[in-house]
Amino acid sequence: MLAKRIVPCLDVRHGKVVKGVNFEGVKDVGDPVACAAEYNRQGADEIVFYDIVASHEGRGTFLDVVRETAKQVFVPLTVGGGIATVEDMRQTLRAGADKISINSSAVKNPSLISEGAEIFGSQCIVVGIDAKRDGKGGYTVYANGGRIDMHVDLLKWVEEVERRGAGEICLNSIDTDGVRGGFDLEMLKAVCARVRIPVIASGGAGKLADFATVFQETDATAALAASLFHFGELTIPQVKADCRGKGIPMR
């Protein structure tokens, strides 16, 4: 049986992990390669790197981080942030990413999804989506890290994302992100009902039980969290043990 995945996400700025990571045994808390290696050791099923600056000048440094990580971490590596062209995708995959995640660039230029899927295969194209309740019972898609309302209906957008050949959706709820009150189950249910591709839940994890809940209540195939793991409040083995104890298949 296919296991549900627990995915830690590392935000990287100028080659360093933003805010740092609080791990025992990791001396340089800002070193993304050391942090990724530690997550690998803890049993992360996949690791996400996100380039939060995504400037043209900083690209080389960021890809060096990806390259170094791929030499030491042997679970799938997803890389996002600032990927706007097929050439960006190619460079990122060549650096050792297994999957590339596109978000704002896909909303602004949806053909990027289809082009990427045709050239590199659907399995390596993840579309990240930031969405928020529109106050009228629906959800709307935002770009630029949740700052710009694109006036695109979420459920129409996920259908287009699937039709264009994305291999996965990483759904981040702006309403629950940072609140730590649990994943946005309602939004996840609505999206999972519309598409057949895997959906990764993101935004809102605040306590141990939130992970098991998202797998019990929705069809999400993976759950992503950042600060919760970074600051050592929860470890990946704890989360997996809790899920396993509740009958959820885990690696």
Binding site: L2, A3, G43, A70
Partner: protein, 201 residues
């Protein structure tokens, strides 16, 4: 020395990263002599079957691989595993290497998500030197839309994805194929590559 066949496969880089990390001596090659001199051979592979077979044919190595498979360990990974079989119908009929009897077709279930992507548990049916010193439960990382259909005696381990999906196969001799990616399957995947190196000695 392990020869990793160089025909433009997408996962060549990650397979080599893993071998490098494990200090396993290897050479990336399309040279027949280097393959003849190697102790074992790895055939990587990602993408579509016909295009990969075309690229492999273009290297002129088909017969070299077939000959070497009679006398030293050969490990096909992902599409490289599928290419060990007789034929595939991905994008029209296409001949494979024919080292293991069987065919490759699309995963037949209508109920599950295709591609089969993620960590799935192996159900082990036979002892295999590749699985030595690896504890169960054993989950490995899969990414594929097509699967092998072959005799049960060729299946070392399978996983359940609304049906039996051959995960680790063998011809009963030197030929092995992993549908999953050992190079992306964490510590247990790395152990399989260490085991493969031991078989080469």
């Amino acid at each position: 020395m392990i020869a990793v066949i160089d025909y433009g496969a997408g996962n060549l880089f990650s397979v080599c990263n893993a071998l490098e990390y494990l200090n396993i001596a290897h050479v990336v090659t399309k040279d027949a002599r280097e393959i003849d001199e190697a102790d074992a051979v790895i055939l990587p592979g990602v993408g579509a079957f016909p295009a990969a077979m075309e690229s492999l044919k273009a290297t002129g190595l088909i017969d070299v691989i077939r000959e070497n498979a009679k006398k030293k360990p050969l490990l096909g990974i992902c599409l490289g595993m599928q290419m060990l079989f007789e034929r595939s119908d991905e994008m029209g009929a296409c001949e494979g290497l024919g080292l293991i009897p069987g065919e490759v077709h699309r995963i037949p279930s209508e109920k599950v998500i295709i591609p089969h992507m993620g960590w799935n548990e192996l159900v082990i049916q036979q002892e295999c030197p590749l699985l030595k010193e690896i504890e169960i439960p054993l989950y490995t990382y899969f990414v594929h839309s097509y699967q092998a259909f072959c005799d049960d005696r060729n299946i070392v381990a399978y996983c359940d994805y609304d049906g039996k999906v051959p995960a680790l196969v063998t011809d009963g001799g030197f030929v092995f194929g992993a549908q999953y990616h050992p190079e992306k399957s964490g510590e247990k995947g790395l152990q399989m590559l260490r085991n493969f190196e031991r078989m080469a000695k």
